[in-house]
């Protein structure tokens, strides 16, 4: 049984009349001990084999084959897996039916078939997800991970069909989605990764794919505990304004609340590796309190395979000592800034696409300033491909006339990556 630890960072002191409590909670999975991978891992790799994968003189499909072969290499003996090819329908490449148990023989059989797959047909991501879901349904107790690659937009089914498929898959498996090149739609893949507790990113060039697949599989194969939820109790009359994962990436979990009882909600977090650590920012509105009152704003617990682990308390203390109530908590301030950074990038790119240059310049300038202050060096580099930075400290920038589509997409899709606060 993995035990989790949590540490709360907050200024618990509120001035008279205030009722908003902010806290950052760092959750860390303790050592899992000898009972790791009790229920097993299942991996399904879905690769886009639509006709567009034959572009660039076949470079895309060759890269996809090589990357999938490399990913299969990483699957440890005993882990069940399948490889699915996606077009306007989904088709099991290996095994023909169901799941295979990884061994030197099954891995090389799978690789033999993958190396011979040919691109042809359309793109219907909802049908791919449905196919993955039916494979995962065979092992409902396992830690279930899907790697999904597409190079195009979801052209051969309606948005409603995709949405319905995503809804059906929630809680059934986790999915890391990757878009190859620049012809895919960020919003489509982000919907998939957000609902299915995974990540989304761009693979700008075919030659980057193998390293990316290795990295995704490396992380997926170290997961030790599958069914984890952040469980929050808050007092009667309180309102949880939001619950966000803020590191390693920004994900708003507020809409994912599942009621446990009248005062307690679960927010699913998916699978965790040994020693993995993530930060959450929560904001709770409390009924008014009197100076001298101390109240709990939230009790932070974890539900691990249905078992509750108590971990940390978020407190509210009303005081008329302004030296206490005006303290700024560094973690809360840092992640508030990271959320503003992601919003500024999103708004800035949207304004740019609408031709609103003044607004785009202002928003992207603010993003440069925030990223510079917080030490998001990767984000600063991505921003520099879209704007000329005159002064990062003040956020003085000029929009670039010509920008690469891949650079714009990378900035957009990676805007939710955060840097951790230096506590």
């Amino acid at each position: 049984m993995t035990t989790f630890e949590a540490e709360v960072f907050q200024n618990e002191y509120l001035p008279s009349g205030a009722n908003t409590v902010d806290a950052v909670v760092t959750v860390t999975a303790g050592p899992g001990g000898t009972t790791a991978i009790t229920s097993g891992l299942v991996e399904v790799i879905v690769i886009d084999t639509s006709g567009s994968m034959s572009e660039d003189g076949g470079a895309k499909i060759r890269a996809a084959r090589a990357a999938t072969v490399a990913a299969i290499d990483i699957i440890p003996d005993g882990v069940e897996f399948a490889v699915v090819s996606g077009t306007e329908v989904a088709r099991s490449l290996y095994p023909r039916l169901g799941l295979a148990t990884a061994s030197p023989q099954t891995r090389s059989e799978a690789q033999y078939i993958v190396e011979r797959v040919r691109p042809d047909g359309g793109t219907a991501i909802g049908s791919w997800l449905n196919a993955a879901a039916s494979l995962f349904a065979m092992r409902p107790q396992a830690i279930r991970h899907c790697l999904l690659l597409t190079d195009g937009k979801n052209q051969h089914e309606s948005p409603e069909v995709l949405d319905a498929a995503i809804q059906r898959c929630i809680g059934k498996f986790q999915c890391d989605a990757r878009g190859l090149g620049t012809d895919w739609n960020i919003n489509e893949l982000r919907k998939v990764s957000t609902a299915l507790l995974g990540t989304v990113d761009i693979i700008p060039r075919p030659e980057d794919m193998e390293a990316e697949f290795r990295s995704i599989m490396g992380a997926a194969m170290t997961k030790q505990v599958g069914n984890v939820a952040l469980r929050l109790w808050s007092p009667k009359g309180a309102h949880i304004e939001f619950v966000k994962q803020v590191a390693p990436t920004l994900e708003d979990l507020s809409g994912k609340a599942e009621a446990v009882n009248a005062l307690t909600n679960d927010y699913p977090l998916g699978a965790w590796s040994d020693q993995e650590s993530r930060d959450y920012h929560l904001r709770v509105q409390l009924p008014p309190g009197n100076v001298g009152d101390e109240r709990l704003a939230a009790r932070v617990m974890l539900s691990v395979d249905g078992e509750e682990q108590p971990v940390a308390l978020v407190r509210a203390v009303w005081t008329d000592d302004s030296a206490l109530s005006t303290r700024i908590n560094r973690a809360v301030a840092h992640y508030t800034g990271q959320a503003e950074l992601a919003g500024a990038i999103h708004d800035g790119l949207a304004a740019r696409q609408q031709g609103d240059e003044a607004n785009a310049t202002m928003k992207l300038g603010r993003a440069v300033q925030l990223a510079h202050e917080a030490g998001n060096d990767d984000t600063v580099r991505l921003l520099q491909k879209v704007v000329e930075v005159d002064d990062p400290a003040t956020g003085t920038v000029r929009l670039k006339r010509e920008i690469e589509a891949a650079d714009e997409m990378a900035l957009d899709v990676r805007s939710t990556r955060t840097v951790r606060v230096n506590k």
Partner: protein, 368 residues
Amino acid sequence: MTDSEPIDETTPPSSTEADDHTATAACPACGEDAPAGSKYCESCGADLAASPNDAVPAAPCVACGAPPQDIIADGYCSNCGQKQPARRDHLEIDEGPVAAVTDRGKRHHRNEDAAAIWSAGERSVVVVCDGVSSTDRPDEASQAAADAACDYLQTFLTSDRAITALRAGAAEPGPLDPELVERELTAAVAVAHRAVAAVVADDPSAEPPSCTIVASIVHWSPSVSASVAWLGDSRGYWINPDGSVAQVTRDHSWANQQRKLPDFDDAAIAADPRAHSITRWLGADAVDVEPEIVHLTKPDGGRLLACSDGLWNYAESTSAMSERIAEFDGSPLELSQRLTAFANDAGGHDNITVAVASDPTAAKDGEP
């Protein structure tokens, strides 16, 4: 009173007596008096051996009235989240001739003051500490400091060393040698300092807590003398038999520091927001913990009062404090209660701690 058998007068009390600080404390849950040494209240079954920081057991939520079973073990209501009163929110320690009351007041969420007292034969020990709110775990710091200093002084006063010193060079028992007392008070404060530093020894990320201290030994017979050591702005007063009051300590505060400068402007100092900031304290970040010490000889007798600023902020001058005490000649506990209630009625803006020591030999005479 004094006789030719000083050994008898100075024999240390048995350890059970010495450790007993709760001779007739009221049960914090139901208010009934519980006899000395009780582990459980006979009226309501409350656990009286619990530590001062524990929540009051088996009571409905003070905020929403949820039943006792809805109060979670860590002291928070599982319905409305309210922190339930801790025993320490209002504690009374009554040893007869020495007593103390410490109270959360009305505007702070917990009591960060602490008092520890001891009395045996003709000597009394009074310690009051006030935790600094802007540090981590000041409540634990003040309790650790008060307990450590009081334990140290009690051990000293019941030691052979003290008994020998008491008899040295005199046929009649007299007050302890001031130099010896000074050394021991300094040592007691050093022990308290180490106890404060140990509070967050296990937590490197914590802001080290700090607290004030006023620690006093009073020797009541054959003549009355007192020695008061302090750091910070917790005060010692001497209450004369006529009810007039003299302040024994001088606050280690920013205001008093400014007043040492030439041509100071007293009104400007008093109005400065830093006026009450303390300049000396106990704790890991204190540079110098050698206390200031004053010795008093009081042939006419009287009482010793030690208190935190939660009281004296409402009676800052000695005349104001005299007015509060006037000719009240109730027991030390009653006087402590009375002054605590006064500070709460005046606003209770800070934690309030009052400790009073009176002549135990006089008290015995007064008994039937």
